[in-house]
Symmetry: C2
Subunit: 345 residues, 2 copies
Amino acid sequence: MTVTIKDVAKRAGVSPSTVSRVLSGHPRISLETSRKVKVIMEEMGYHPNMMAKSLVSKTTNSICIILPKPAEELFSNLFFMELIRGIVTQASRSGYDVLISSGANEKEELEAASRLLKGRRVDGVILLYSRKDDAVIDFLENNGYPFVLVGRSDRYENILSVDNDNVMAAYDATNHLISMGHERIGFVSGPQNLIVSRDRLEGYRKAMQNSELEMRPEWIVEGEFLQDSGYRAMSFFMNLPNRPTALVVVDDMVAFGVLRGLNELKYSVPEDLAIVSFNNIPLSELSNPPISSIDIGIYHLGYTASQVLIQGIQKAAIGAGYTNRFVIPHRLIIRESSMHSLNKK
Amino acid sequence: MTVTIKDVAKRAGVSPSTVSRVLSGHPRISLETSRKVKVIMEEMGYHPNMMAKSLVSKTTNSICIILPKPAEELFSNLFFMELIRGIVTQASRSGYDVLISSGANEKEELEAASRLLKGRRVDGVILLYSRKDDAVIDFLENNGYPFVLVGRSDRYENILSVDNDNVMAAYDATNHLISMGHERIGFVSGPQNLIVSRDRLEGYRKAMQNSELEMRPEWIVEGEFLQDSGYRAMSFFMNLPNRPTALVVVDDMVAFGVLRGLNELKYSVPEDLAIVSFNNIPLSELSNPPISSIDIGIYHLGYTASQVLIQGIQKAAIGAGYTNRFVIPHRLIIRESSMHSLNKK
DNA sequence: CTGTGTAAAGCAAACGGTTCCATAAGGAGG
DNA sequence: CCTCCTTATGGAACCGTTTGCTTTACACAG
């Protein structure tokens, strides 16, 4: 049936241990034996059984991505694809396999994490979101499992995390609009239980305060990271008596929704309403008009997360790491949706 | 350290085999013992070690998605995200984990497949592409590994596959344009080593022949499944002396490229050039104008592929399946990009 | 009271590797 | 010539489960 290490050993006239040593490049194996065994392995089409290997080494050489919320909603956001792409690419380079898993709610995520880690199926996990008071993080932290958070935690200081400086990013985005002469600037936010939403809102506030601009409560609308939220926010804003001339939008998908609504109502962008959003997914430049967006280096975020996690796993035995918070730089990509200056008027 | 089946056994005063049987719901375990053991397992936080389990059962309860080409290019296509979403959702429902893997070329894919299957790390694989003369398919087929192809093979009749009727889909798309009064219709194709490209081209040809329309060789342009290809095809077509009035485009991303070019040159769609494309990715309706596209049920394609594969794995022992080719229905979604009739003129 | 059938649980051998410890051979040093 | 290293290899235990075969303990029929 399957050819095992014992079959190879018998055929080569050596012991299984010797074959194992040849496989792992043990120093105390004569060149002659090593060559002979290798030839036989080739001949017999031997492949080590990963399960057996994992069983004794207590290591699986695989990591897992945990997607929060039903995959249905999530995946529709191009954002995650970019992230996964970065993760898979890096992991593959490090010789790790990537398992992807998702749950319908926090409880299911927790079950998945627990099953995979306690069941020793993966060596560590990457969390793609950070909520306030996240139970999954608690679980991982309390049990000492290797993990890295893409985002930041509001409660743990020393966990591995890869994130942008979202406060600063929002600050920059808002300032860009201000520099274009806008004074009435609205903000379309994401769910407030997500740290990223909070951070971006804070950056917006800082920029507004810094320029001593008025901040009306009705200029801040909260929604989901979905197109529809943008669409709804747009109708709300456009019906306001004293409506904003520009919008900072928390996510490109949401901005697409805003844009769709604006197009339907025949408003023009950026003349009637300037827009800057976040994430710069590959389609931001394809919309009509192309959207100014903060590029947060999504791919890089994923790539780094994977790298940091795998290093963490491998060095776990040696001792804890040095840096634990990695900040990926962002940069503002200015496109048509904000290229209209009010300064001259 | 970790709590094993033996620890539970000892604490419960029974043998490991008994605990194992409790776990698998063996009939010959007294209710009393079963309850006692379950309580102890709970108390001690026992979780079965999947590696050990896999080792003896020779089953991993996981499947693998093999992405061809560098993930870099591939993933940029939203298409794959939808597919993966369908696969992961279904697999998760069946209690399977999904591993994702990719290679830079056919050789690397083969290595990945070989490593994962021979190394007994996954029970089966899903192939997301079918090339002509694919070496990975040969490998899987010759070694009797369970796999399913999303697409179809040109050489094997009886392998499991999930596909659309792409010939018919292209036929429908082309006919739609014909019914709108177009007679000079061009075709932007994908790489000809991909079966899907060939099938769609054939459908276009059939429709044109069927309506006895002229087919000029220069009206068929071959490119990649990327925006740039569309952009280039567009410039080519628009510089033609006798240019087409409508285009059938092999993929939405490519159509976006066409659209971008057309917008830049201030042509209007559909008046100057009508467009119909394929796949209907979530963003097709967001472009300007929204693109008519053949919805091929990407999510459904993935979902079915996963289902078929897992059934195949589980029934492998019992005997081969019945149907082996599954066809997912398509339907044309008409949007603005083709809503301009030439008939009245 | 013995023989037999049955339910419940235990024993031990796998599964395919890794690795610590032991051993054999050969060479060097005394 | 004996002892002691060193180097190359073998032996066996173990990683955490599953499972076929036994064993044990009754209950009941003869």
